[in-house]
Symmetry: C2
Subunit: 468 residues, 2 copies
C-alpha cells in the first residue's frame, strides 16, 4: 500500500547489523498498512506526494523499511521499522529524534502513536561513553561494594520553602538517622528563599559534621538544573568546593545539553543523580514514547543514578515494567517482551551499569517489596515517608535504614520491627507492604510470558495496561 | 478534600496579579477534587503524607491554590490552579517546568492529564527579550513590509539524501521560480551525504546568484540543531560568512539551551526559523501539554518564524486551533476560549510579534484556504507540493508564488489559474481547496462560541476534539 507514491513495506527485508530497529504502536483513520507507510515516509525520505527530485541513491540507501506489521483490527497495530545507519547524523541525538520521534506524531490520520522501543546498534553505542563511575563507583565511595546492601536516600520536604539552614538541618538529621544520600527536590534550584550556593555550603558543612561524627561517607546531590550556562557554573562551583556529586533533571534538559553536561561531570569525576520530571507525559497515554528509550540514552550518555520508579509507591509503573527498566539499567542484555512493547537489548561491553533509584511515595514499610522487585542494587529513597515519621526526620531515617538492614539480612520487616522502635512506628503509621504480591507477579511473568505476549498482540496497546 | 494531610482547594482565593494560572484537564481513579489536591501538592510544597517539617512560611507563601474545579462526572474535570510568583526560580524555565509540568504526569491515580494552558504574568514576561527582528524584521529584509503579502517557502525534498550540489540546485530552482525562503528539513543537519558546511556554501552561492539575477532578497535557514556546542559552532560559522538566518528544532532543544541559542542569535542579528518536530507527542492525546504553552515560551524567548500548522494540510490541527495559535504568535491579547482549553492571554508591550509558518502537506491549491485562516501575515511553505509539481521544482515554486499573488490581489485561485499555467497545473494535480469551509468555521465560531464553551465543559477534553 503506497503512501505519497512510494512503498516502504518490505516483508522480505532482513535488518542489517547496524540498522536501528523501532517498534511502534499506531491507530488511526486509515488502514494500518497505510499508516505504517506514512510513518516510514515522514521519518525518512518521503512526503505526502511523489517527488520529481527523488533519486536512486536516496531510495536504496537511506529510506526506512517497514519489515513487519501486526494488525490489531483494520486501523491499528504494531509496526517494526528498520532505519539504515547512514540515514543519521550519528553523533547528533536531536537529529535522530527529529527523524524517528519527530514530525510523525503530528500526522493527521493518526489517533494514537506510541514509540514502544528502539534497539540501538552496537556501532551507535560505541561512540557514547556510558557512566564513568556508575553503580560500582557510587558503591565504592559509600563503602557498600562488598555488602551489596541497598542504598538509602531522602528528599528534604516540603519540596520547596525551607531556608538553607532548615534544609541542611533536615539533611543532617537524615544522615545521622542512617541514610546514605540526600537530594534536592526536582523543583528546588535557586529560589530566593533558598539560594543554591548558601544551601550547598550549609548542606556540605552538615555532611562533613556527619562524616566526622559517624565515620561514614554520605552523599548529597545539589540540583543544578537550569539553562546550560548556569548549570555549568553550578557544576564548576560544586567541583571547586570539592564536592563529588550533582543532580540533573535529565528529561527536561533534552539532548542538546545532556551529553555535554555529562562529559563535564565525567571530566570532573562528579557522580550524577538523574531525576526525570516530566518523562511521564511522554511515557503514558496514547501519544508518546516509552521511558525505556530515554533510559537507554541516559545509560549510553553516562548518568550514575537514575529514577526508574518503585513499583509500589505513589507514582505510575507496575512491577513488571519497573523490573524491566531495572534490567536495562544494570544488565548486559535481555530478551524481547512484547507484553511490555519491548525489543531485545544488548549493551556494548564498555557501557557500565547505572544505579537504579526507587523513589516516589516510599516509606520503610514498602522497602521489602520494592527490593524484592529491584534486587539489592538499588537506592531506596523516601521523602514524606521519612519527614512524616512520628519521630520526625531522624526517626524516619532510622526506620528506613532499619528496613534496608532487615532486607540485607533476609529478615522480614515485621520481625525486625520487634526489636527496632523506629521501624515499628513506621509500619504502624504507614503500613507494611508484603513482598508476596510482587514476587507472585514476577513468578507469573516467568510462567506466562508467551501467553501475555499473545494477549497484547491480540489487544494492542490497551492490553499492555495491566503489565505496565 | 485533603491530600497528604493538606487542603489546597480555596474557592475564595482570587489570583494575584503576579500569579501563574494553570488550566488542567484530569481524569483518574479518584474523585476529581482529590486528584486536584494531588496535583497542587506534588507541583508545589506537598507530598503524599503530612510532614513534621512543614512550616507556616511555606504553607502561606509558596503553596499552589486550586481556586476552581469544574466536574465532568465524578472522576474527571477541569482544574484552575494559581502559583505564587515567589514559588519559582524565576529565570529558570526548567525549574518552572519541573514544578508545573513535571512529576504530576506520573501520579498513579491519573488516567489522563493534560496541561491545557498557562497564563504567564507580565512580571515574568518582562525578563525575557521577545523576538529581536520578529515578523516585521523578516518582512523588511525581504521587502514586503508595505505589500503585506504572505511569504512563500519550501523544504527541498527528499527530506534527506540530496548531496550539497543537488540540494543547492533545488534551492536555486525554488527561488528562481518565485519563492522567498528555503529551509533544511528537520532531519537534515550534518549527514555524510550532505555535510552542513558544504551544503551551506553551495546554497548561499545559489542565493547570491538568485539575488544578482533577480534583484530580490531571498532567505535560507540552515538547520543547526544538535548538541549545544556544535549548534553554536554552526551559528558562528553562519555569522562569520555573513548569512542572516538559522533554523532550530526548538521543541527538541528544550529549555536548557533555547534561551542561550536565541540570545546569541539576537547578538548576531540572525533571523531564527523555528521547527517544532516532536511537539505533537505532548500536544495530542491524553497526557501532555498544549502546544500553545510552548509557543508562548518561543515568543517570549524570541524566535522570528514559527511552525504552527496549516489547518488544511497533512498535519494535525483544525482551523480554530490554528487561528488561535496564530493570534498568540502575533497579536497583543486575546480572550479565554474554553472550547480550545485556553485562558485569556496578554503580552508584555516589548514582546514583538512572530511570523507564523503554515507548513505540512501544503501546495498552491491550499494557499487560498490557508491564508483565509492565517491572514496575510504568514509564511506559506510547501515541500512535496512544489517538488512534486508536474514541471518539477521551478514550476512548483512558480505555482506557489502565483497562488500567493492571487490571494494578495483578492483573486480566487481558479480564476487566476486561467492566465497562469503553473498554478493551473498545480490545481489540476493537487486539487483546489476553497476557503469556504474555513471561513464558515470561523464565522460559526464567532456566532456559537458560548455554546461551544458549554459543550466542552459538559464533555471534557473529548469534546475539544472537533475544535482542535
Amino acid at each position: 500500500m503506497a503512501y505519497g507514491g512510494y512503498t516502504y513495506f518490505d516483508a522480505k527485508y532482513e535488518p542489517a547489523k547496524d540498522d536501528f530497529i523501532v517498534l511502534i504502536w499506531a491507530k488511526g483513520t486509515a488502514p494500518i498498512e497505510k499508516i505504517a507507510e506514512g510513518i516510514a515516509s515522514e521519518s525518512s525520505v518521503g512526503t505526502w506526494t511523489k517527488l520529481k527530485t527523488m533519486n536512486q541513491f536516496v531510495w536504496e540507501h537511506l529510506r526506512a523499511r517497514v519489515f513487519k506489521i501486526h494488525n490489531v483490527g483494520k486501523n491499528a497495530g504494531f509496526i517494526w521499522i528498520a532505519y539504515p545507519y547512514e540515514h543519521f547524523d550519528s553523533k547528533n541525538i536531536m537529529q535522530f529524534c527529529a527523524s524517528v520521534m519527530g514530525n510523525i506524531f503530528g500526522l493527521k490520520e493518526l489517533e494514537e502513536l506510541y514509540v514502544c522501543d528502539i534497539k540501538f546498534p552496537l556501532k551507535y553505542q560505541k561512540q557514547f561513553p556510558g557512566p564513568k563511575a556508575g553503580m560500582e563507583g557510587v558503591r565504592r565511595y559509600v563503602g557498600t561494594e562488598k555488602s551489596r546492601r541497598p542504598h538509602t536516600g531522602t528528599i528534604p520536604k516540603p519540596k520547596v520553602g525551607l531556608n538553607p539552614k532548615e534544609f541542611a538541618h533536615v539533611a543532617y538529621e537524615s544522615w545521622i538517622g542512617g541514610l546514605d544520600f540526600v537530594k534536592d527536590d526536582e523543583n528546588l534550584v535557586d529560589q530566593k528563599f533558598c539560594p543554591f550556593k548558601e544551601r550547598f555550603h550549609e548542606v556540605v558543612n552538615a555532611a562533613e559534621r556527619v562524616e566526622k561524627e559517624t565515620g561514614r561517607k554520605v552523599l548529597y546531590s545539589p540540583n543544578i538544573s537550569d539553562r546550560y550556562d548556569r548549570m555549568m557554573d553550578r557544576m564548576d562551583y560544586v567541583k571547586a568546593h570539592g564536592w563529588p556529586m550533582v543532580m540533573m533533571d535529565v528529561y527536561l534538559m533534552g539532548f542538546s545539553v545532556l551529553p555535554m553536561a555529562l562529559e563535564q561531570a565525567h571530566r570532573y569525576n562528579l557522580f550524577t543523580h538523574a531525576h526525570r520530571a516530566g518523562y511521564a507525559a511522554a511515557h503514558r497515554g496514547n501519544y508518546g514514547a516509552n521511558f525505556v528509550i530515554y533510559e537507554k540514552y541516559y545509560r549510553m550518555l553516562g548518568v550514575d543514578q537514575l529514577h526508574i520508579g518503585t513499583g509500589v509507591g505513589k507514582m505510575e509503573g507496575g512491577p513488571l515494567l519497573i523490573k524491566r527498566l531495572h534490567q536495562v539499567a544494570d544488565e548486559k542484555k535481555g530478551p524481547a517482551k512484547m507484553y511490555l512493547g519491548m525489543l531485545d537489548f544488548e549493551w556494548a561491553p564498555h557501557i557500565k551499569p547505572i544505579f537504579s533509584v526507587s523513589s516516589g511515595g516510599m516509606d520503610a514499610g514498602k522497602v521489602e517489596a520494592s527490593v524484592a522487585l529491584h534486587g539489592r542494587d538499588v537506592v531506596v529513597q523516601a521523602g514524606g515517608g521519612i519527614h512524616g515519621h512520628p519521630l520526625g526526620t531522624r526517626g524516619g531515617a532510622a526506620s528506613m535504614r532499619q528496613a534496608v538492614d532487615a532486607v540485607a539480612k533476609g529478615i522480614s520487616l515485621p520481625a525486625y520491627a520487634k526489636t527496632h522502635k523506629e521501624l515499628k512506628m513506621a509500619l504502624d503509621k504507614f503500613g507494611y507492604v508484603s513482598p508476596k504480591a510482587v514476587l507472585k507477579e514476577l513468578a507469573d511473568e516467568k510462567k506466562n510470558c508467551k501467553k501475555m505476549d499473545a494477549e497484547v498482540l491480540r489487544q494492542g496497546r490497551g492490553g499492555m495496561e495491566k503489565y505496565s
